[in-house]
């Protein structure tokens, strides 16, 4: 009798084990895909082919400390002569590799990334549209961006005045020669 019970319990345990094996994904955990950090979002806008490495590192540090998501955003500018919905392949050829480089670096450090592309008549206009559509808790910008092509000092002042988020402006520093550029993207991208 007791031997029968042992056999039954053994069979039941084996069935449960097989069932669990089929049901659970490999390594017994849910896949990381689709899992975004609930909560804080850090926007890292840029306009050119490179960003200051200090901005990126600041974003990664804060994201790790706050369990936040980094949201690098490429701000594309549409000439006045063209409709706002125009495709911008030439600018994208500069911006997409940098988005890729930022995403690769941040992901390799375990920080979740969710990229964006903003489009407007100017970098500020593109940023304003992005901010109208989504909420960001922090925005990190570097004051060393070339104001002729990126965000000008006027734009930074506008952000401080108008944007309902914490703005972190990194003042220029000697180590700003260290950049993250499209050249650092891995693979054939």
């Amino acid at each position: 009798m007791s031997a029968g019970v042992v056999v039954i319990v053994g069979c039941a345990a084996a069935l449960v084990g097989i069932g669990a094996g089929y049901w659970l994904p490999p390594h017994g955990r849910r896949p990381a895909r689709g899992r975004l950090t609930e909560g804080r979002r850090i926007l890292l806008p840029f306009t050119g082919e490179e960003i200051s490495r200090r901005s990126f590192e600041a974003a990664v540090r804060l994201a790790k400390a706050e369990n936040a998501t980094i949201m690098p955003a490429f701000l594309a500018q549409v000439p006045m002569s063209l409709p706002l919905e125009t495709a911008l392949p030439v600018q994208c050829a500069r911006g997409m590799p940098l988005l890729e480089a930022i995403e690769q670096r941040a992901s390799s450090q375990g920080v979740p990334v969710d990229s964006r592309v903003g489009r407007g008549r100017s970098a500020r206009d593109a940023l304003r549209k992005l901010l109208d559509e989504e909420h960001f808790d922090r925005i990190i910008v570097s004051a060393d961006e070339d104001p002729r092509v990126g965000l000008s000092y006027e734009d930074l002042r506008w952000m401080l005045d108008r944007v309902p988020a914490e703005i972190l402006i990194l003042r220029p520093a000697p180590e700003d020669t260290r950049r993250i550029s499209t050249e650092t993207v891995k693979g054939h991208f």
Binding site: P25, E50, R53, S81, L88, C92, R105, G118, R178
Partner: protein
């Protein structure tokens, strides 16, 4: 086996350039004149001299089919006289401006369709084209130049040409020609210099033209090697070689953007169109995160010039197969699959299902490069823009 003489299709030779004024029409006329001197029957079907004296002089020795007058609304417009050309049936016909759009009331809406008819009648054709008129380059050149070109031709027309000749000129030389009044009359020179004819525009357009012709040559060489005879390759495969179309399968999660970017880069390299396909369960309500991801995908697709197709279906494979067939897809790109759970493990994986149901379509699984081994995780000493390893 040789085709009967009366069913022979004419040969098309296209002179392509970065902009007006590089000398495409002039070169076309010179070749036409050389053919005439060699004893062939050559006529000009349509010539646009734009008031250039040099061009008009070269054309003097060639017979020309007069234009016909077509009434459109309250004006009379001069167009190429296709019926007269077909009746005249020369051996070689020179037809300028391949991308021209005809006024309503003529046989075809576009001049390239007229040229197809001429070729179909066994008449060889020489024609001219500016690179910005190619459909696939339209967005690219619109952004470069700030001018949207309305008259475009499908890339396949150029793919079907028997010869494509690039007429190249440095931007500086073209600007010199423009200033000397050799491109436009004096009253148009300032406007041209202030708008389209800027050195940065011309340099970019020249690069596009050079690349386009290089890709054309590459595609032809490839098809010739694959198929054998030149005629067979041009007839069967050349349109395919320039007609790649990519389909990227996207889902509503942040990593999907990486897949889209990778697909876009591949499409750029192949000179191919890009479609993005999102398949959702019918009636499924999107979460806030998913709505944000969808908005971001739409924006990305729009900026890149890709088309986002949204389908509702319980059968993802069938939805993909249907869209791929409808859109003429030649490549499918998808991200790495989630680990299967439960009975889903017993199913054939999606890439295999697609390969079974879409023979002849390449299926590519896009890796997540951020998960590569540490040796390649971005600290590998590649130089940044300032020469410092980052």
């Amino acid at each position: 086996m040789a085709a009967p003489a009366d069913s022979r299709r004419g040969r098309l030779k296209v002179f392509i350039g970065m902009a007006a004024g590089v000398g495409k029409t002039y070169r076309m006329l010179l070749e036409g004149r050389a053919e005439q001197e060699a004893g062939h029957d050559v006529v000009i079907g349509l010539l646009e001299t734009h008031g250039r004296a040099e061009t008009a002089r070269v054309a003097e020795s060639l017979a020309m089919v007069p234009r016909r007058r077509v009434r459109y609304r309250d004006t009379v417009v001069e167009e190429m006289d296709l019926p007269t050309i077909l009746r005249r049936a020369p051996e070689l016909c020179l037809i300028d401006e391949l991308a021209h759009a005809n006024v309503p009331g003529t046989e075809h809406g576009k001049r390239w369709e007229d040229i197809e008819a001429v070729l179909g009648a066994g008449i060889d054709v020489l024609s001219t084209l500016n690179v910005q008129h190619l459909e696939s380059l339209n967005d690219h050149i619109t952004e470069l130049s700030g001018v949207r070109v309305r008259e475009t031709i499908p890339d396949a027309i150029l793919g079907r040409a028997d010869e494509v000749v690039l007429i190249d000129l440095t931007p500086e030389a073209l600007l010199d020609r423009l200033r000397a009044g050799k491109v436009y009359p004096p009253e148009r020179i300032d406007a041209a210099l202030n708008n389209f004819f800027k050195i940065e525009n011309l340099s970019a357009l020249r690069e596009v033209a050079l690349r386009q012709v290089a890709e054309e040559v590459g595609a032809r060489r490839l098809t010739t090697e694959l198929v054998g005879s030149r005629e067979e390759s041009l007839a069967a495969d050349a349109p395919q070689a320039v007609g790649e179309r990519l389909l990227a399968l996207v889902e509503l999660y942040p990593g999907a953007q990486r897949l889209v970017r990778r697909a876009w880069r591949s499409a750029q390299r192949l000179g191919a169109g890009l479609d993005l396909l999102l398949v959702r369960a019918p009636g499924k309500r999107l979460s806030d995160d998913e709505q944000r991801a969808l908005a971001a995908l739409r924006q990305l697709a729009s900026v890149l010039g890709a088309r986002l197709i949204e389908e509702e279906s319980d059968d993802v494979t069938s939805a993909i197969v249907e869209v791929a067939s409808r859109r003429g897809t030649t490549y499918i790109l998808l991200g790495g699959a989630r680990p299967a759970r439960g009975l889903a493990r017993l199913r054939t994986p999606l890439p295999q299902r697609l390969m079974q149901r879409l023979p002849g379509v390449d299926v590519r699984i896009v890796a997540d490069r951020s998960r590569r081994a540490n040796g390649t995780n971005g600290t590998n000493g590649k130089a940044g823009s300032n020469g410092e390893a980052v």
